[in-house]
Symmetry: C2
Subunit: 335 residues, 2 copies
């Protein structure tokens, strides 16, 4: 955000999450003019979902001081699976009942504006690339660490969607082919099977079951549920096991990052999402990033290691709708 | 190759290998008008190398029936390491004495034509993408299996060079992070450490040292040196160990391919190079490709698995110079 005057054309970015729908009106420079959000309640069906979208977009446009006439295009970001060129949601895990849903066409008709659909991780990556922590560079890998591991790849304003809308699905790259951890969907040894929040909890539970010493043993005995937050708190309070589990997560992300540095070789690799442990604001967050860098130093060739910036993302939860608006601008704007 | 009349503009492609330099004159449709080659003798120094290049280019242009005036630009393909935008060879392993050599500038001055430099694996990939086995598609991963594992990635006419000329260095993706095989340069668990010719020989030697039953035990006892060809011959004659070693190579390539399908999600993945065991011409070659596909089926998501074509490359040793000419056309042509 800056103090510059808003600059036309204007776009609406809509980030549909399993819990909330976020809507922002964004100007030609990626500046947010207004923002609103509301519960997704995907289980209520797609008609209810479209009504929520309409209500939130109406609100956001009104708050921006603009009218529908001022809006050039709409960008939708959604979790997958999806067919991006067709604008179809196929079987989105976090949006029950929204399967086989031609969301782009429906929103286009509802709002009477040209609309694009983008994968949420790709959109967030484009947000960081357009106006976030990577706004000054040519290419970016953006990891989102949460329940799963999301990823977006941007090369010279090209969002790597893939030919089957599976581009940048790098949570599913294989980091341990033999005897790798299982993560569901028949997948063994993937990055997500090691470094996601789900995997962190599973690895923690296994260590506690093995009787490893940890303050978390007491928590669990007293009925506390293991969460990444609980593990992070224990790590910050000096618990050796908790710290090890989180530093192992960083190691796995370093392995996956090295693979992408030898594939894409981007200027910048950013880490965002809930599992970033307070980022540079906490000791744990700083150590987490440093551990990723240490692993990359160990494994990557010297030239990419020395030249590639590894850092935390800067837009937080705004990256998705800003990036969705940016992808609409890529297609419908006169940049 | 086809019977159509040659179409201007024309390009010269130069593929510099550790053993030979290949030079071809290529027309605007990727058709080769003339071809010649000669020994690299890199150890004789760069001045001698430039003389060889001049001689071969003179020959090729003469044989094509064109003159220097007809040539629009020159494409150079070379093994790395290199700085592609700067046109510099840095420390190319297979070209001793050619280190820190501004080859693009030197060739540009020597031949008085606009010249581009490209990594040899990227150039070969672009050749297959332009006029080879992937000429009809939008995006391609091209693996070259040989002493090392080379790779090139093409997305919508964009050669993924990377910001530090390390794009598509996918022989160095990590497929086994813990206790992975060592492959030199401080790298553990990389695809190259498992699937290259060097790795195949090493795995074979280890199995023989362990006393595993194989016709190769006799060969080695009689002083024969283990080579991929020897292993392939034994496999074709029914040797169980030799067959297993080659099918394991295919498995590793399937793992690496799955990782790239979840990263780039291309239309086509092609396999070329010496380590393709006769390709579709032999039973072993057909089983090798099938084993790669089986591994991908096991590991990749159904949608990319079903839609991605895995096949052998079609241009053989011509891919490099044709692709180099194609990259020159990308930059200097009016396509």
């Amino acid at each position: 955000m800056n103090d510059a005057q808003p600059e036309a054309p204007y776009y609406v970015g809509i980030d549909i999450g399993g819990t909330n729908i976020k809507v922002g009106v964004v100007d030609n420079n990626g500046k947010t003019l207004s923002f609103t959000s509301g519960p997704t309640n995907a289980e209520n069906g797609t008609e209810a979902g479209l009504k929520t979208i309409k209500k939130l977009v109406d609100q956001a446009i009104e708050e921006s001081g603009l009218t529908y006439n001022d809006i050039t295009a709409i960008g939708l970001a959604s979790p997958g699976t999806m067919d991006i060129p067709a604008g179809m949601l196929l079987d989105p895990t976090n949006l029950p009942t929204w399967n086989d849903f031609p969301i782009r066409e429906k929103v286009e008709k509802l709002l009477q504006k040209p609309t694009i659909l983008q994968n949420d991780a790709n959109a967030a990556a484009y947000g960081e690339f357009w106006v976030g922590a990577a706004h000054h560079v040519n290419s970016l890998i953006f990891w989102t660490l949460g329940t799963g591991i999301g990823c977006g790849i941007i090369i010279h304003d090209l969002v790597i969607e893939g030919e089957n809308s599976h581009g940048g699905e790098c949570g599913h790259i294989i980091i341990e082919m033999d005897d790798g951890r299982y993560h569901g969907s028949g997948q063994y040894g993937t990055l997500e099977a090691y470094a996601s929040a789900t995997a962190l909890i599973a690895r923690c539970q296994e260590a506690l079951d093995e009787g490893k010493a940890s303050s978390l043993q007491l928590e669990v005995a007293s009925g506390e549920k293991i969460t990444p937050l609980l593990i992070a708190q224990a790590a910050e309070e000096g618990d050796v096991l908790a710290n090890e589990l989180i530093m192992d997560t960083a190691k796995y992300m370093g392995v996956g990052t090295t693979t992408l540095m030898h594939t894409i070789d981007p200027n910048v690799v950013l880490f965002g999402g809930a599992m970033t442990f307070g980022r540079n604001e906490t000791d744990l967050g700083r150590r987490f990033l440093q551990r990723i860098k240490d692993e990359v130093k160990l494994r990557a060739f010297p030239v990419p290691y020395e030249n590639t910036v590894l850092d935390y993302a800067s837009l937080g939860g705004d990256a998705g709708y800003i990036g969705a608006a940016g992808c609409a601008r890529l297609k419908y704007g006169n940049q």
